[in-house]
Symmetry: C2
Subunit: 293 residues, 2 copies
């Protein structure tokens, strides 16, 4: 543990407190775990009312990065330290969006280090107002640190959160960045400051949307559609998400990695949406390059 992982641990606790407060004070289940090879983490899981299943995971792990894993990261093997917070929330109401956030730090014993992270929003039904609110908030966080961040990281998110086999984005995107180093400074605090700002923006970006939508009326068709969209979320995470694949293939902690899976999902052969329906509106906006602001 160092000051970065200590910060991430407190970020986890703070976010869980705010989410619990927002969801009828239902407490998170806390599950601390150790990694046999070094380090460990704390999984915090909410089975709430507004949030049907939510995971807010902290980890700080260390050990030897073997040749295969090093090759996957395109770096030299050696001792590593990695820490971060990962969040996926699957709301109960089909009109509330799924949200994901990750902030992370990685270092090698040879002095190499970087930060990475991202936030993206996956509505079952796209509401442009929510997308505008979300992206405007992200841009504000980014602009305070570097005016190039939002456009760069927004495009990166469009490219990253994309399902080639469906030719659709996962949702309305957000920001994504990796191997972030503060090139203009000699210390890493500038990058860390940005990552902190991203992490601390999470609740103010999501909780207002949740509170606006959790009591939205819905019918069986809306619920069915939610399950189908959750199926797409599963497809992205298991087929395309680099972090999930890397974790599962390198003997990561399966339950922590797969806490991102939805509580319930469905698949139907060749599901079709009606012309002019809200479902069709959503599908037609799962595209790269939409400027929501």
């Amino acid at each position: 543990m160092n000051h970065i992982s200590n910060y991430f641990k407190s970020l986890q606790e703070d976010i869980c407190q705010q989410l619990s407060d927002a969801d009828d004070c239902i407490p998170f289940i806390v599950d601390a775990w150790k990694r046999p090879e070094g380090g460990g983490g704390t999984s915090m899981v909410l089975n709430g009312k507004k949030i049907e299943k939510g995971g807010v995971m902290f980890s700080a792990v260390e050990g030897v990065l073997n040749e295969k894993a090093a090759k996957g990261l395109n770096i030299q093997a050696g001792d590593f330290f990695a820490t971060g917070v990962s969040i996926v929330l699957h709301p109960t109401n089909p009109f509330s969006p799924i949200i994901h956030m990750n902030v992370r730090y990685f270092e090698m014993d040879n002095g190499l280090w970087w930060f990475g992270g991202g936030i993206d929003l996956t509505p079952h039904y796209i509401d442009p107002d929510d997308a505008i609110f979300f992206h405007t908030g992200l841009k504000k966080v980014c602009d305070l640190h570097d005016p190039s961040f939002y456009p760069t990281f927004k495009t990166w998110a469009d490219d990253y959160f994309f399902l080639p086999h469906r030719k659709e984005t996962r949702g309305v995107g957000g920001i994504f960045f990796d191997r972030l180093v503060a090139a203009k400074r000699e210390d890493k605090e500038a990058s860390f400051d940005f990552v902190k700002a991203v992490g601390e923006s999470f609740c103010s970006l999501y909780i207002p949307i949740l509170q606006r939508t959790f009591h939205h009326p819905f019918n069986d068709l809306n619920k069915k559609w939610q399950y189908i969209r959750r199926g797409r979320y599963v497809e992205f995470n298991l087929v395309w998400d680099k972090g999930t694949k890397f974790g599962l293939e390198t003997n990561g902690r399966t339950e922590s990695i797969l806490v991102s899976m939805p509580p319930m999902a469905s698949w139907e052969y060749d599901h079709q949406v009606e012309n002019g329906s809200p479902e069709e509106f959503t599908l037609s906006h799962l595209k790269k390059g939409i400027n929501w602001i």
Copy 2:
């Protein structure tokens, strides 16, 4: 189309007829499709009573095998032809098992060819009698062709239908074989004969189990467990199954590939089973190397 793909097409129709007869004569939905690059297929999908969602897919495709795909198969690039039948049935009753079968033929314009295939059974609740019935039937089919087939292909299935990140097999296994060529003969009819026998055994291996189990009483806990086991099925297919990954990464027909996904599945953080429960019995038998006969 050649005599092999013609055979596979008729096998598909025959199996669908038998499954429909077994499931209150509910008809399959028939969806013929063409592949822009050459060839096509017919997807037959059942939304039945005993079978909640079943796909029996035929395809015969041809075209250029690009460098990347050829490298994945460890062969030289060139023109290819591939045909086969793939089946996944997700039954309604948690006490009925999921079944999968695939029989396939592949050839290159340089004269290289092979057959492949397999059948495996994935019970939500393992019933040793069903596993014995299933494996005994498979052994009988194999032994008529080559006494080495069953032990070899049974072990291959144990290794193939395995989830490393869960340290469990997908189910009670079956047989799996790939790149099967009739080494002792100059024609390919010996291999084809075996593949035909596998394909034609499908209904007699599965329908009796379905008819024995479809009216088994079940409660909410059984249904919940079924959804969790289906989640594992999704994990195997999307993370580990070579055919699914290859298909999704090489611009295959997504709806045909993902017809294997269950109609409904669920994930729960760190689900635990009770000591001495049928769920625990099942988990304790999801191991390689069990000799069911």
